[in-house]
Amino acid sequence: MKKYVYIIAGLIFSAGFFASCNYLDIVPDKTEDISLLFEQRESAYRALSTCYHFLPNHDGVYANEAMASDELTVNFFQGTIPGRDIMRGQQSADDPIMGYWNDTWMVVRTQESMWKGIYACNVLIDNIDHVYDMTEREQAQWKAEAIFLKAYYHFLMFAQYGPIPVMDTNIPIDAPAEVMRVHRQPVDSVVSYIVNTIDKAINGGLLTRITSPVEYGRVDQVIAAAIKARVLLFAASPLFNGNREFYENFTDNKDQHLFNLEYVPEKWLLAAEAAKEAIRFATDNSLKIYEYDTIQNPVKLVEDFKYFRNPRYLNEIQADYNYRFMFYDPWNSETIWGDPYPTLMRSALYFSLQAASMPMNNTATNNEAAWNWAVPTYEATEAYYTANGLPVDEDLSYADKYANKFKLTRALEADTLHILYRELVPNIHQGREPRFYASIGFDRSYYRIWGTKWTLESRFGEKNGRKTMSTKDYSLTGYLLKKPCHPSSDGSNYNRLIVYPWPIIRLGELYLSYAEAMNEYYGPSQEVYDALNTIRSRAGIPDVDQVWSDAALAKNVNKHTTKNGLREIIRQERRIELAFEGQRNYDVRRWKEGEKYFNIPVHGWNTDKPAMMDYYNNQQGPIAVMPRSFATPRDYFQPIKNDELTNNSNLVQNPGW
């Protein structure tokens, strides 16, 4: 008996030593590793989608760039709205708003750093050749897409920060700290890197045009050429081209000037040629300026049938539909690069500009997707032309109205498509061009929405006005934004909003860019007029050279024949045509007009007043409803986060921050 006990005891004691040395070796083979992505085409898709993942979410209300300009705004009661907060002067270098350099919190999602996107592109470029079940042609195409995206991510940061470091290849993680501390490259090197890289993508394997519907949204040569035109336009613009005024003393820690100090007019030529080339690429691939086709695309609203049948209204209703559906008719002939991943399709984040702009429906049981608070500023509305296609202060036939622009008069038959007949509205809301009515909703105007046609009643306590003082969902300015809201969208539920790809770049912009660059380099020419007229004829207004040379209409007759005059005309045309599309915040900056446009308060009607006269401020014009702040030259560029400057002592902060 005793012996057995010894044996048992002995066995237990020695059990430990039987344990093999492999006891701690527990990691099996086949754990996840990056290389697994590049074995098969199907898994390589995940590497490719990660390259695209970093593209900004333009139609998200919290990421929207129109909000960071003088076009759109939101009342104070809605918490953080990054764009609006920048415009109110809340940008800071400690915690930058909307900057692409670091991960940025956009209230409902994080916009990840563009550097991470660049890293992902480089990973794909380095590894895609290992995938065994892809053809070389396809590998080349994917690689070219990643190359293009890398360039585009650099460009997005270039637009925000100006001179940036160039990360053409990934720095190894075991590199010495000094290698990791990259320098900012001068503007010209950044531009030439971006342009060369786009060229590499175009020549390296991008498809000419993506035609397969399942691949809509992927990059092709038409897209790349269009973006290249945008890059060169930026590079030629006053902010980046010989900006001695702002950046004469802006150097880095090697005493290198980060901005070129000499104006080079040939940059405009490059921009013009690139725009022309991009237009050619697009039109060769059957893209054209969008026009609403009532045969293929029956009119959605019963209320509008009669206008299409009445020759008296046909042109105007056609122009109205042209412009509106150009924006939200999915994948139409003008969409060069549509965002195939709109906010409404993103996982459970429905915070789209469309929902934020949708007017509330008091009779609906639910207004889940109609928030009623992303609204145009008065400044944005005044920029639109008169029905003659002239600025409101230049049109002699509008002079009476303009002189009493805030006076309330009864709406005329001429505006019956857009304003409730015989209602009292300010003169400035009457007799305007179709794009104005297509984009802006105001008191007593019609709004085609929720599948029907409404008359907006916007004063305090009214149907579309602010309901009580504790209402958060109201228009700060009294205006409502129509442009992103599809007439068939139903705000009772996110699923009933019409989804469309936000145009990242569209053909209309290329004509405007071409016109601008041509005028800057050569001065006025028929080619410039033609480019502008392409846009204007779709918008239902007379040709530029026609109205400006008509002494009976234009106050400054023949303004279009001088370079400076035409420049103003082009800029205003661009402001109107691309309004609320997220271009203006960059346009104003590259034209160095921040002080002029971004440093004045937002104006709007007095939405706290139920009485008509109070609402219209006793016909004295809109009141200041929100302060704005813009410091020159500080606010031309984003601040680099202070932490990043601490981590990388080779970086210099942008001036003023």
Binding site: A15, L37, S49, R88, Y216, N366, T471, N647
Partner: protein, 1025 residues
């Protein structure tokens, strides 16, 4: 053993009685002797004794190991009941050290032990009893929520800024969780010790760097069965309740606040609404809700019971224990629901320890432990419900609406919400009653042990083997419904303002359920050879231990790497040598492996050594001196201890990269219909095969003193340098494009401190006794190296600062006026903006670097660390005849915390308002630049919510932790019923607290809006049969 009184002896009389300890538990085996005679006896299993032939002038002496000897003159007493006091000097003859026991006199490691009775608290959470009771433990409790009220505790403070800073907890030798320790029944604890220095923890090598808590449970004693029972019930109530404004004051203050920033704005709350509320008109139109009292009860009653039995014969001895606890929360239950949404915990704790003597030299032991925890509670976290009271205001809506006549078919409750919004306001009541959670947690643990005495080979040698298994499972079902929210819609009509109740958010009529189940298990083997022998004056000892442990499913997470087991193995040893009870030497080592590291970096060797010198045993130590200072002992130890918990549990295998190659959050979508979706990938860690152990170099210098055999003092000074702390390189620029940080063993920290334990016991007469204890722990630390960037300003660097140091701005005062504001440095680029900017009455900061603007670079280290540097406690117990009284104070010092203005600033998003804030704030009427609250606002003022000295609070406090009054029944009647002893006692916990911070219980720190810490009034009965 039992001298029957029937045996008559001619001379003298019979003296008999019962010997018990302070708590009335009978003490068997106490030697009872009549001085200067040979007469004597030993107490029986129930503590009784009887001696015959005792004269009136005889003195009877009572002797028991570990207790003070007592002598009593017999006089004419026939019954002499004795309360024995545990001796201060030799609380334990033996001390439990790593893997074995050592004679206390020979221990040179720094080990604190505590009498398990000290751990009895009326809350059923043992971790709450640690603060101030044990020298060397830094502890604090942030929440009073039943089931979630574990205290945080650190041995000798926080000594690393790496991931793992928690001590290793071993219960009966098995690695256990904080939760296991919290649920331990103090009645079952035999010994509780804290291992602090290198020699004490070296044998645990890889796991001992943060100190070790070692608990052993009681085992059976040979003899007749003894049954002990304890029944307690208590009333638990918050130590402090936050006071909020009532509706009328709220609205008036809100209107004031809006006008403070925007004088031109219309009033937010109309006069009509305020007056209606003041007059108490229709509460659906003019709600005035006191959310706190609508949601929570003032107190709650809890129950506890514990029964244990112990005894046995020569072959087997047993200790069996069963306890039951019932704890409830303060949440009210909605009468409209038939389920219980309050916290209601039933807990059963079972322990059976059985020892067998298989042969004369072979012993076996079987230990079984089970914990069953049945939890019922709200669907969402209870602490969150307390917090949400802050986010609802009294006037927006009532908690529910009465069902109006025009809603005849509505069956659901009409929960209130803001009438004009999208039902996005917080209704705490709806949040509380919208469901309930059922959870069943079970822990089952079995341990088998064999011990073989090998004296036949060589004397003093024995072998031991142990196998243990543990399974913990948790099944949780949350059932909840989505509330239907209704609101009063205001309509402007020709007849004036009309109100109409409207559905704002569709809810669900039925409950949904979410099930989450999980189980984890562990397996542990330990074998040890032990040798102990005394040769004349030489005491020699040796120990060699091998162990391995595997834990399955211990790591939360779904990927393959986190699903792999956790494994540890090690070989440890100790050699001790003592000479003549004067000189002691000890050498230890731990050689440990962990699965976490690359093959070459997997094993760590951790040696340590110590020296001890008992001066009071030297020949030159005089007799007179010994009468005063009866013990004087010095000890020094030094060594290395490791830590493999260098990163989060799921962050292992540092030599592999952590990649999610199918990450839904990184994908993109293409296609005409936006449906060609592909997931992406993410890199969460870059591979690095040089990562290895964190290592602590610990040194301890101790002295033990004993004065007059009554006062025992132990003082330790320690230093520790922690090297190889796994730490991120923080200076990696974002332009690298990395999606995860880069880390390595680059951190270093140094800590030092003192811990002092002293106790005193004095038995004045046979009926009157005192014991006192005092503990003091001071631990401070400093960061020596971390991966921080090169800061432009030295004060931004964390090097040279305590590990838990906080940084913030230095608030000078509030801006006095516009002139002051304009002429001060610009703060956060916000001066120019109206909204979101700052105004007179907002906080003015000091431009530390004098660059004309206030930004991140103006933050300096402010205040003390978040973890207190000093924890202390002191208490006194005394007894007179049947009555005993004790109290214990506990304190904490040198800690700071920030009030978080983002959580408590009133009116933001129509948030509730704490009364104290509205009593002292800046206004044009009261432009006090040092008012408690800056200029009011109804939106967040970022200028004021940055961490700054303005919000810094002193976290120190001194509280009366417990008071206990007991009465022991030592009645013959009881004894005839078979009840050996009985005691009734009253306990009060957390009765009062002294602190500079007045808003809430300072121990809660910045968690003051959570579940409040509890004050407990307890009554208990204790019996022994």
């Amino acid at each position: 053993m039992w001298f029957l009184p029937t045996i008559f002896l001619a001379q003298g009389s019979l003296v008999r009685g019962v010997v018990v300890d302070v708590e009335g538990t009978p003490l068997p085996g106490v030697s009872v002797s009549v001085k200067n005679t040979t007469k004597g006896s030993i107490t029986s299993i129930d503590g009784k004794y009887a001696i015959t032939g005792v004269n009136a002038n005889d003195t009877v002496a009572f002797n028991y190991v570990g207790f003070d000897t007592q002598e009593h003159l017999v006089g004419n007493q026939q019954v002499l009941d004795i309360i024995m006091l545990e001796s201060a000097s030799e609380l334990e003859e033996v001390t439990v050290v790593a893997f074995q026991k050592q004679k206390k006199e020979s221990v040179i490691a720094s080990v604190s032990t505590i009498n398990p009775k000290e751990l009895k608290v009326p809350q059923s959470n043992l971790t709450t009893a640690l603060a101030g009771k044990i020298a060397g433990v830094i502890s604090y409790q942030r929440s009073g929520e039943p089931g979630q009220d574990n205290a945080e505790f650190f041995i000798r403070g926080v000594t690393t800024f790496g991931y793992g800073n928690k001590p290793l907890i071993l219960i009966d030798g098995l690695e256990s969780t904080t939760e296991d320790l919290a649920r331990l029944e103090p009645d079952n604890v035999e010994s509780f010790s804290i291992m602090k220095d290198a020699t004490a923890t070296a044998l645990y090598g890889a796991r001992g760097a943060n100190g070790v808590i070692l608990v052993t449970t009681k085992v059976g004693k040979r003899g007749k069965m003894t049954v002990s029972a304890r029944v307690e019930t208590n009333i638990s109530t918050p130590t402090k309740i936050n006071k909020f404004l009532d509706g009328v004051d709220y609205m008036e203050m809100y209107n004031t606040a809006i006008r403070m920033r925007h004088p031109e704005y219309p009033l937010y709350y109309s006069k009509d609404k305020i007056e209606g509320t003041r007059m108490g008109l229709n509460p659906e139109l003019y709600p005035n809700v006191d959310w706190y009292h609508e949601l929570f009860k003032g107190y709650v009653q809890n129950y506890r019971a514990n029964v244990s039995a112990s005894g046995g014969g020569d072959v087997a001895q047993y200790y069996l224990s069963v306890s039951y606890t019932n704890e409830k929360g303060l949440l009210k239950v909605d009468p409209l629901n038939n389920f219980n949404n309050n916290i209601d915990i039933d807990r059963f704790n079972v322990r059976a320890n059985i020892d067998f003597n298989l042969t004369k030299t072979t012993k076996a032991a079987l230990k079984y432990y089970a914990l069953f925890d049945r939890y019922n509670g709200p669907a969402s976290d209870a602490s969150g419900i307390f917090t949400s009271v802050m986010n609802a205001n009294p006037v927006s809506f009532p908690k529910t609406y009465e069902k109006p006549d025009n809603f005849p078919f509505v069956k659901h409750t009409l929960f209130g919400n803001k009438g004009d919004g999208r039902a996005d306001a917080v209704n705490p009541y709806a949040q509380m009653v919208n469901g309930y959670r059922d959870r069943f947690n079970a822990t089952n643990q079995a341990q088998f042990q064999v011990e073989q005495d090998l004296s036949m080979i060589t004397k003093g040698l024995n072998l031991r083997g142990l196998v243990s298994m543990n399974v913990t499972s948790s099944n949780q079902i949350t059932r909840r419904f989505v509330p239907f929210y209704y609101g009063m819609i205001e309509r402007q009509t020709d007849e004036g303002v009309q109100h109409e109740l409207k559905l704002l958010q569709e809810g669900t009529e039925s409950l949904t359920n979410e099930i989450s189940n999980g189980a984890s298990s562990s397996f542990y083997i330990e074998t040890a050879a032990q040798y102990n022998r005394t040769f004349d004056k030489h005491d020699v000892g040796g120990l060699l231990v091998f162990y391995m442990r595997e834990g399955l499913n211990e790591i939360a997470g779904s990927n393959v790497l986190s699903s792999l087991p956790v494994r540890n193995m090690g070989l440890s040893g100790r050699a001790t040598y003592g000479f003549d009870k004067r000189y002691y030497v000890e050498l230890n080592f731990g050689y440990n492996g962990s699965e976490k590291f690359e093959k070459d970096k997997r094993w760590g060797f951790f040696p340590s050594a110590g020296l001890g010198w008992t001066v009071s045993n030297e020949n030159f130590y005089g007799y007179d001196l010994k009468q005063v200072l009866s013990l004087l002992k010095f000890k020094v130890t030094y060594g290395l201890v490791g830590n493999d918990a260098i990163a989060a549990a799921s962050d292992r295998f540092f030599y592999l990269s952590a990649v999610n190659i199918n990450d839904g959050g990184k994908g993109y979508t293409w296609g005409e219909m936006y449906n060609q979706s592909y997931n992406g990938y993410s890199i969460n860690r870059y591979a690095n095969n040089s990562i290895t152990w964190e290592v602590a170099q610990k040194a301890n210098y101790g002295v033990e003193l004993n004065f007059f055999d009554k006062l025992n003092v132990q003082v330790d000074y320690f230093t520790e340098q922690r090297n190889n702390i796994y730490r991120a390189f923080e200076f990696i620029p974002a332009s690298m494009g990395l999606t995860a940080g880069l880390s390595n063993n680059i951190g270093k920290a140094f800590s030092q401190g003192v811990d002092v334990a002293s106790d005193f016991s004095w038995s004045v007469k046979k009926d009157l006794w005192f014991t006192a204890r005092a503990n003091f722990t001071y631990a401070t630390n400093v960061t020596l190296a971390n991966g921080e960037p090169e800061y432009k300003y030295a004060y931004l660097s964390r090097i040279g600062q305590p590990i838990n140091q906080q940084w913030g701005y230095v608030a000078e005062r509030l801006f006095i006026d516009e002139y002051d504001r304009i002429n001060s440095p610009d703060q956060f680029n916000k001066r120019s903006a109206e909204e979101g900017g700052y105004m007179p009455g907002d906080i003015k900061y000091v431009d530390v670097n004098d660059d004309g603007k206030i930004d991140q670079n103006d933050q300096v280290p402010i205040g003390y660390p978040t973890v207190p540097e000093i924890i202390y406690g002191f208490g006194l117990s005394s007894g007179w005849k049947n009555v005993d009284l004790s109290f214990f104070f506990q304190g904490s010092a040198r800690s700071s915390f920030f009030l978080d203005p983002n959580k408590i600033a009133p009116f933001i998003g129509e948030r509730n308002a704490l009364e104290v804030i509205t009593k002292d704030y800046w206004s044009y009427e009261n432009p006090d630049p040092y008012a408690f609250w800056p200029r009011m606002a109804t939106y967040e003022v970022p200028n004021n919510s940055v961490p700054s000295t303005w919000w810094l609070q002193d976290g120190s406090f001194l509280r009366l932790k417990s008071v206990e009054l007991g009465y022991s029944l030592k009645d013959n009647f009881l004894r005839r019923q078979g009840i050996v002893s009985a005691r009734i006692y009253f306990t009060g916990n957390n009765l009062f607290c002294l602190s500079k911070f007045k808003l809430w219980d300072p121990e809660m720190g910045n968690n003051g809006l959570g579940y409040p810490t509890q004050r407990v009034y307890n009554i208990g009965f204790q019996f022994t049969f």
